[in-house]
Symmetry: C2
């Protein structure tokens, strides 16, 4: 079943799938240490950082938990405008933090004035921001949000979930002044799921050292202590690290700017098609994702039927997420997906809609 236009797990290149089949290695060995160090350094440009990159055997949500458990003793502000930012708020509460949500309507972006308002009401140790809401296709203005946090309270740590943007959209962690940026393997990086990556600033690590009850598996301080030996506290997911290492080489061979431009071109193609066909992009103008488009299902298409039609053509899209199921459908344009594949998908969607309209009239 390929190509898939779902927002993760995305299709993985055959060479990257094959990289997983390399023989096992002891994780206390020179060979593993070299591999692991190489992958961590190759990943830094994708984060726009010189900070250390941690790699865990987990999904991205595991590192959402790491953020709230390590970077706040108590007070967390969670910016919420979709399912995954809401999840982060749930993760914070589940870890007994005093988490306050700043709720913004799904489909709208979170803007600096809203954050400034929240920061004036209470002092927070940590603000959590989802860069690209996979559920709504909204890209929040992280650089501007970070600036307003810094302005209002320079000590507040800023952690960004870039799960569905990192590797597809330019992120400048150091320039924007972010303290932690996390992502997972199965979205724009186009690796199988099961790995998560996070870059963590020195000041965030310093703060973590003073936070009690950090747990063990996602304890950033423990991870940092092992990183100096190019190792991990727990057993690393070796076959996925092989895949990551090869895919980072492929990403560098494409060139980061080229990769970002390809994502923007695919987004423009999809979003122009949406407008030209009487649909609406669910996300408000100015904040539309470069990696996934949620389409308001104004034509009331049966999304299950649409996908059955597409599956016969070896393609697949995603229904809306959670409360947006059937009300929207989602087209991912991320990872290694190519422009010609997007064009093929849009032609198939045209064909389905023409048939749908005919059958509605008859």
């Amino acid at each position: 079943m390929s190509p898939m236009f779902i927002p993760g797990p995305v299709d993985v290149h055959p060479a990257v799938l094959a990289a997983q089949t390399q023989p096992m290695l002891p994780h206390r060995s020179q060979e593993f240490e070299s591999l692991f160090q190489g992958a961590r350094y190759k990943a830094q440009p994708l984060f726009g950082t010189r900070a250390q990159v941690f790699i865990t055997a987990s999904s991205g949500t595991g590192l959402q938990e790491a953020a709230v458990r390590n970077l706040a003793k108590e007070n967390v502000l969670c910016l919420v405008n979709g399912a995954f930012s809401e999840r982060w708020f749930e993760v914070a509460k589940s870890n007994s933090k005093q988490a306050d949500p700043l709720m913004v309507e799904w489909g709208k972006a979170i803007v600096p004035a809203q954050v400034a308002g929240a920061l004036k009401r209470k002092k927070y140790e940590l603000v959590t921001i989802v860069h690209n809401e996979t559920s709504t296709g909204v890209q929040n203005p992280v650089q501007d949000l970070a600036a307003v946090v810094r302005e209002n309270n320079p000590d507040t740590l800023i952690c960004v979930d870039a799960v569905s943007s990192l590797g597809g959209v330019k992120i400048e962690m150091d320039k924007w002044g972010l303290d932690m940026v996390l992502t997972s393997s199965q979205k724009c990086l186009a690796i199988p799921p099961g790995l998560a990556l996070a870059a963590v600033s020195d000041r965030a690590l310093d703060y973590a050292r003073r936070v009690p009850d950090r747990g063990w598996y996602f304890d950033l301080v423990r991870l940092a202590e092992h990183l100096v030996k190019d190792s991990t506290p727990a057993t690393p997911a070796l076959s996925l690290i092989y895949a990551l290492d090869m895919q980072l080489d492929r990403i560098m061979a494409e060139g980061l700017e080229n990769r970002f431009a390809r994502h923007s071109q695919m987004a423009a193609l999809v979003q122009n098609w949406v407008s030209a066909n009487g649909f609406e992009v669910f996300a408000e103008g100015g904040y539309r994702s470069q990696t996934v488009t949620a389409v308001s299902n104004t034509m009331e298409l049966d999304i299950g039927e649409l996908n059955e039609f597409l599956i016969k053509k070896q393609m697949r899209i995603a229904n809306g997420y959670g409360q947006l199921k059937e009300k929207t459908f989602r087209i991912a344009h991320m990872g290694d997906t190519q422009i010609e594949e997007i064009n093929t998908l849009l032609s198939a969607l045209d064909e389905f809609i023409t048939r749908y309209q005919k059958s509605s009239k008859s």
Copy 2:
């Protein structure tokens, strides 16, 4: 580099490595749900249980954290006689539990009378037991330990780490009255690292529902809620689940009893060789592991040199773990390793020792 005789990650069969290369699937799809359900049910006989088997994208240590965070509000007794049982105690403390260690000398087994003594001094919600200490090659008598816990306090939950035994040694979770048994993919199951599995009893799940601060990623209640839909709260590690599914078929094709017998035969070969060559098995008699043997380095071999010699022959063993480095070396006989491979290794060890003795004399 193969065969490796290190206690994880072990060599993975080429067909299982290749299973990882199957194309990605949406994890909210019938195809994934069938795969996931199949793997979970196929795993039950290895645990000796009818309880639900959970599969997480993590190492085994992640599920050590799940156990202490879900199954105790406060009081945990950790049976400690090696590095991994000590880790579990650290994990419990890191999660702010009132954990007491029952410390037994490394190389000795933990026996029922010791546990009875500890249980008489204090009431515990949870006892943690490592079945097979990978650091010392001791196999603790889990069935007897569980019986003494039940006898002294029927309400105390019993959680067993079977990371380096499950799939190589018979475990009867239901018959022995265990509440949670956890393992990871890269030991006796012979799958690449990155997956952990745990079977959890209904009474343990009931107890977890009353425990606060369970977190999100390793929350057993949340995992159970998703399991009824054959899904997971966080993104599952699909390529590793493909590998697990194929390997469970291979294990069933070998036959569980045959697999356990092969592990015992390999253990006997190694342990007989140890005695016949003037070494000593580090673990006390009667409690020697069926999956890994720690050898007291009475001949003061240089283990680095030994491994260099073996690596030229495409083999590799493991140094002692932590405080036992150089004082012991470890030979793993687990997973898909075959008897003829053990014989080849032992011949190579003979050759090394003969040379070593000659060079010591000269």
